[in-house]
Symmetry: C2
Subunit: 368 residues, 2 copies
């Protein structure tokens, strides 16, 4: 029997609660599909700062490197919020592990479940059937470029006095762009009616001009896959106006962060979206949502994004496609049967159908 | 009688068609309110590149500097699209004039007209009554930082070969942030129930940490005005999920570009939104939308954003508040009476109520 080592990173806020549900589903699906998983928890984010002083302890990184896949929940919280550039932040754990594992690709499927069409803030006719894949570059761009900070820069303070001056650089080399755009085309080739939209700000930014050149070169190698460029401001608009026009969307790290969160709202709840981070090292899977500190410990967090990230883990991390299909079908069935967590319950949902974190997972398990 | 000099910049695409309507409204309102305007056209953008080789001719800049206000329509089009970093682009005319006139503040009111609630892709109950003001920093940030490009950078090409490497820097000094945040608080103080949301990515970017420090300092000086910080990805989500929560939103140049276009979709059409750019030099007023080359010359473009930018010009550029109120009331009345351009016509609108560019302006003029 195949056996996989899974490095679990519960992190902060609702992280531990939802991660536990993900593990329950993973163990159940493994038993049904005839493979074994060994899941081990390690510290990342705020809890790691509290325990060790650093958001990504060496021990955690070593465990991630040795594993077949990483299952992460979420990091961050007001407890560790600071604007002191020298202080450690939970998010550095997440950025650090992405970088250290060489995970340059982030896949965010945006799938509108039929049963949740009414939970969207958009009109149902606009979101029904929306099914796009956002491919976000994950280890370059504005997140990882050179940073500068000068405390007493002449003329940079209020009214021309000396003051603080900062810079974050958005940096890309051709190779970094090429590999994510190429992946977007491969993904589109495997999708019915697959087409690619590359998003940039080529009318202003130098890096975006390079991005567009590379995207067009890769597009020319894939003449059978319809392709377009779109400016990021226009894309932010089109996602709201006509979301169904998109299939595979590929973009820079920060643009992808913003656009994928915007797109997630089409589905009615960020609590429904999972993501896969792929590249040269151990692949990592996580919900698209954050650590929701306001509801941490209440047992009401929606576990479905975490559970769907287990499906992505099975498909892209372990090559167990059947297990992935089973999980996704069970989640869909749970929704079709009317079960909801608070965040995805449309007004008028009977109270008896609104479940907590564990009970929602129970319903999914029953349908596996 | 007071007389004002207006520098008109029709630009590209639908620009000339809509600018002409704006001038008609300006002249009409001036006559009614007892002031005079002298409007003179100058070249900017693609047409300026064609005529002079540069998107912002000296003559145009001089005319703008000498005027009381600049009324711009739109620039750009596929005809001048290029990723060659050395080639002139129409957009450089727009960025150049903003910078040269010291227009560091961009105001984008997002107002959902009651008559157009059904044209929004969001559910009517979510957008009705939305009335926010986006304050975008306009002459700093990622748009104006240092740019670098290396043609043969070692290891930066595909598979580690030499390749192109680019960098755009997001740069801010304390003073640049202070003046826009301060403006946001002043604007909020003049609004019923005014409150301020400052948007950044302080969990990752150094400039955003500085932005947040400055915003909090200014907020502390304005204890009566409710204030919050929000991460840009969350804001992109909240604008779709619960747009009515926002009043004044203040943010970095690129974030503001993306978020304001997203927010514009709440109103049902980008064709409805005007913007004012203010700072140390001649103020500039323009629609938020682009040059729409696909419908240029067809006489069907929506002139209302241009007309509403004339209202902003009267209010913020000339100090003629009564004229501004009259224009805004006339536009609102035109919509209430059922007149539409194609882009804002809900399905089922009688064909007879769908007007072209000039005819729509006629209706506004009748109601002035
Ligand atoms: C926590 C934060 C650093 C992270 C990001 O911006 O990448 C998150 O928003 C995400 O999208 O995964
Ligand atoms: C044309 C372009 C450079 C411009 C910008 O991004 O500032 C436009 O999108 C805008 O928002 O006014």
């Amino acid at each position: 029997m195949k056996s996989y080592q899974i490095c679990c990173l519960p992190g902060d806020g609702i992280g531990p609660e939802i991660l536990a549900q993900g593990v329950r589903v993973l163990e159940a699906v493994a038993a049904r599909c005839g493979f074994a998983v060994r899941c081990e928890n390690h510290a990342i984010g705020g809890v790691a700062i509290d325990a060790t002083g650093t958001p990504l302890p060496d021990e955690t990184l070593a465990a991630a490197e040795a594993a077949d896949a990483v299952l992460l929940a979420s990091v961050g919280g007001p407890r560790w919020d600071t604007t002191d550039p020298a202080a450690p932040r939970p998010e550095q754990g997440l950025l650090g592990i992405r970088k250290a594992l060489g995970l340059y690709l982030n896949l965010r499927p945006v799938h509108v479940f039929d049963a949740l069409v009414d939970a969207s803030s958009l009109k149902p006719e606009l979101v029904r059937g929306v099914d796009m894949l956002i491919v976000r570059e994950l280890t370059g761009g504005l997140y990882f470029g050179a940073r500068e900070r000068i405390e007493d820069a002449p003329g940079k303070g209020v009214d021309g006095a000396p003051g603080v001056w900062c810079s974050d650089a958005l940096e890309y080399g051709e190779g970094e762009i090429d590999r994510v755009v190429r992946f977007a085309f491969e993904a589109a080739a495997g999708r019915p009616g697959g087409h690619v939209c590359s998003v940039d700000k080529a009318n202003v930014l130098g890096t975006s001009k390079l991005w567009r050149d590379v995207a067009e070169r890769v597009a020319a190698e894939n003449p059978d896959i319809p392709f377009e460029n779109m400016l990021v401001d226009n894309c932010a608009m089109q996602l709201v106006a006509r979301p169904a026009q998109f299939d595979v969307l590929v973009t820079e790290n920060t643009f992808g962060d913003i656009l994928s969160d915007e797109a997630s709202m089409l589905t009615g709840s960020l609590g429904m979206l999972a993501s896969a981070s792929l590249g040269s090292g151990t692949p990592l899977f996580e919900p698209s949502h954050g650590s929701a500190p306001d509801i941490a410990g209440l047992g009401i967090a929606n576990p479905l994004a975490q559970i769907l990230s287990v499906a992505l883990l099975c498909r892209h991390g372990l090559g167990e496609a059947k297990a992935a299909d089973m999980i996704e079908a069970a989640v869909e069935q749970t929704l079709n049967d009317g079960w909801r967590t608070r965040d995805i319950a449309a007004p008028g949902t009977p109270e008896g159908c609104i479940l907590g974190t564990d009970a929602m997972c129970d319903k999914v398990l029953e349908r596996l």
